[in-house]
Symmetry: C2
Amino acid sequence: VDYQHVQVPFEITLWIMLASLAKIGFHLYNKLPSVVPESCLLIFVGLIMGGIIYGLNDKSPPVMDSDIFFLYLLPPIVLDAGYFMPSRPFFENIGTILLYAVVGTIWNVFGIGFSLYGICQVKAFRLQDVSLLHNLLFGSLIAAVDPVAVLAVFEEIHVNEKLHILVFGESLLNDAVTVVLYKLFRSFCEMPAIKTVDIFAGVGKFFVVGLGGVLVGLIFGMTAAFTTRFTKDIRVIEPLFVFLYSYLSYLTAEMFHLSGIVAIIACAMGMKRYVEANISLKSHTTVKYFMKMWSSVSDTLIFIFLGVSTIGENHEWNWPYICFTVIFCLIWRALGVLVLTFFVNRFHVNTITGKDQFIIAYGGLRGAICFSLVFLLPDFHRKKLFIAATTVVILFTVFIQGTTIRPLVDLLAVKRKRESAPTVGEQIHIRFLDHLLAGIEDISGHWGQYYWKDKLEYFNSKYLQKILLREYDQPKSSIVLLYEKLERKHAIELAEAGQLGHAPSHPSLLCFVFLCSNNDKTVIIDKTLEDTLNSDVLENIQEILARNLYRIRRTGPAYNRHTLPGETEPVEHAKEILILRHKNL
Amino acid sequence: VDYQHVQVPFEITLWIMLASLAKIGFHLYNKLPSVVPESCLLIFVGLIMGGIIYGLNDKSPPVMDSDIFFLYLLPPIVLDAGYFMPSRPFFENIGTILLYAVVGTIWNVFGIGFSLYGICQVKAFRLQDVSLLHNLLFGSLIAAVDPVAVLAVFEEIHVNEKLHILVFGESLLNDAVTVVLYKLFRSFCEMPAIKTVDIFAGVGKFFVVGLGGVLVGLIFGMTAAFTTRFTKDIRVIEPLFVFLYSYLSYLTAEMFHLSGIVAIIACAMGMKRYVEANISLKSHTTVKYFMKMWSSVSDTLIFIFLGVSTIGENHEWNWPYICFTVIFCLIWRALGVLVLTFFVNRFHVNTITGKDQFIIAYGGLRGAICFSLVFLLPDFHRKKLFIAATTVVILFTVFIQGTTIRPLVDLLAVKRKRESAPTVGEQIHIRFLDHLLAGIEDISGHWGQYYWKDKLEYFNSKYLQKILLREYDQPKSSIVLLYEKLERKHAIELAEAGQLGHAPSHPSLLCFVFLCSNNDKTVIIDKTLEDTLNSDVLENIQEILARNLYRIRRTGPAYNRHTLPGETEPVEHAKEILILRHKNL
């Protein structure tokens, strides 16, 4: 047996296998995941694994390597989060999110740091050797809400979209703040004396790290979109570019000490729209599927490793310090959310309710990022205490808060996510209001959200689309796309029910959206009108659709079924023209 | 800038990016890939890259690490090859393939080894210090036809299926022989004296290495199939298991010094059927797409690295030895194919023609496997000569043979692959003949190919399917599946042409396959009958189909559209029953 030779890939594969099998195991019993969040179960599996390793080897099991975490496990999760980020609620609440992420995190860091320093002054606790700077350093790593933990819990409890994006957006964007504060305090710890200049330089760094991350991400995102313009002949490597460019943006940002998380989110959000239009439908399915799969595996591995790393002799159990850490984490977060929300609510009509505030404060879960950062600390004699405190905070938030948040959401009757997708009528109205508000803002000279959105949209259609999309001269109306999708779905349903060719199209579907291909005057008959239409009108609509749909589709989007590899478009077009002519005769 | 920190993943990503961009670049000019095989262009890119690195650093660029090749780059290609292997022609020609792979490779190894030893005796060449054993060792690594190189060239020239599977199957299965001979000679080189026992042990090893690989592969393949029985609730990690289990089979086989290539092929071929039935349609698309993508990237990287590694000072240019190596490789392969085919043709009705023999001999391309093996040689003073000879042989076969094989195929008018898929009528007849021949073989007591296939099929449906498939009590008729697929495709076409609900189903499609859901008496009306049917009969058929198709589909296969994540089957079923009832009223 030559185990040495294959050790590295073999063990990696086995760990991934363990993670996947654990996931299957939980889902075999349907009741389990609905009571306990998966993250808790995975940590539990990790604890058992760690116990076994500890028992067999009689030494501490290997802790999760910080490099492995930051370079290999975290990026897939953040990429998935950024790519599937609902951009509308995100940009609508960007101000609030940034306030929570920047001011809130700073508030927590200093709050926790200073109060723990106060605890250290109590002689009975024997902690007087922990300096203020070390407490602040510890505060900077323990204050950060963890996107992986938040995602794992919030994806299961289905709170309303705004609440979800507030907590989740904060957990993603506070990375820039955490990175800066953590590095700042760490360098202060090693400096003999701290000058005022250094502190100002630290403040300036916030902007460099955050905005730099956004810039790096956008550059890579645009390059990715541009690259996919040229992949028409080799569809099979299209998904690769999505992954390669986002990963490069993360690594590049990390290389320049910028925020990798912010970079990868900017990259994913920036390229999504263009890449989706350029690549084939199958490629897109693969991208989506693989992203979900990868992030799900990373996520699982992180929680299992968290459990494994908890076992061992890395800890110094000074209970007063640990307990007060947990308490301060809770108190300062609650206070921070209350104060910040007070200011936010003064400037918004659509306020954040008291219940929502409670869930935001309660949903501040800590996770693997804290854990990796604490192991990256420079060696000093109280490092094991910090490790112990971090472990307890993570386990407390994931187990206690993670398990109780679902009953609390039920108990408080927090507004849930609406299950159904918005109707076409709603979509039209929302878009109409957007244009209206942009116009109002333009006339009144108020440069608000809608004004900028409109300008961006103009810039996008005027310049970006021409450069980044393969076929840019098309009507990109989402309604046309929706109609086609519905018709296709309906056709498949009919085919599977064996009804094709007999029944007329299901009236509600045809009535659902009715549009003339004439793009200037899009006539929409809302769903609510359905009942008032008689069959003559319906037939008339069908006639118009049948005659005109070809024209729409010919100038249709790049990612329809006809650009799949191996199919030649001209032939398809010719065939359809023939079908239509034949029918008309 | 902290480059050290991100170096490893950054450089890996950049190499993959270079490979992908090179691929895009070639395909931008449509004429280039049709004249020169992609592998040549990639090696050329590699040569340029190597030249640049050499020029900048003034030292040899890093050679391709053999471990990286065997552990990370080769498995995806072999997995792809095994998964998409057309199993029918493979098993029909398994005897011939094994003869070429085992006897042919041994023939080549000893032929090339002994004749090169003869060359070494010529005093003028100054090669007298190269022993017979070293020549045989060199022969064992240079004789092996390379699956990566063969696949790269043969996928582009579209020769007939039998010819393709003969060359490609040989290149895959000779791995077991090459591994054994290479390790045998290498251990002989280090032994002070060779006993007769050792030689017999070597012969015995053939069977252990080959059959052991098959066994390991099948065990992992069956486990993979069994695992996918339980992934119904977490579709998103289904594709992962396909990759994890096949990779584990490869690594496990390598660990026990068995043939990893044979193992991964056995695993992929074994699990394919069951996994496909268990996993969702989207998962399957992802599996297929990712496999193709991964193998395509690996393939590209291998050829680029081949080029990069060629540049440098690792070579000893003894031209007589190198030239004779190329000549002997050609001669012995041609002789081997001639002699072996002579015997094969005596036992087969469907003989291998002279043209085919020429292409088989000419298509014996060498590639990265030789290259990695020559670098793995133990250090001895003539290693650089072997490296130079291997490099020249690879470049000669890939560039000269690879570029000229397409014109030769055209010139000789070698039978091409038929472009169209077999009709349903053909499929029925083939299956009917299979059963007939199995019956004849059973009665006559001749245990041939059909007899074993029939037994295997019985064993499969009696035991394996019950264990490995989630829903095994279904009619697995491929005709039902095909009909559904055609109807669905037709429905989508109609929907896209805007004709849904107006036109009756296109007659040729409906007439194409007509089957009663009554599984015992499947009535097939062949495509050729289409014209003789009048519209009344057609309508009658449509009636029967519409009434009966629901029943088929309810007990349909696990991987139809209705088992996608997020869709609840009972609701769908209820809805369809409603539609059908409504229609009947």
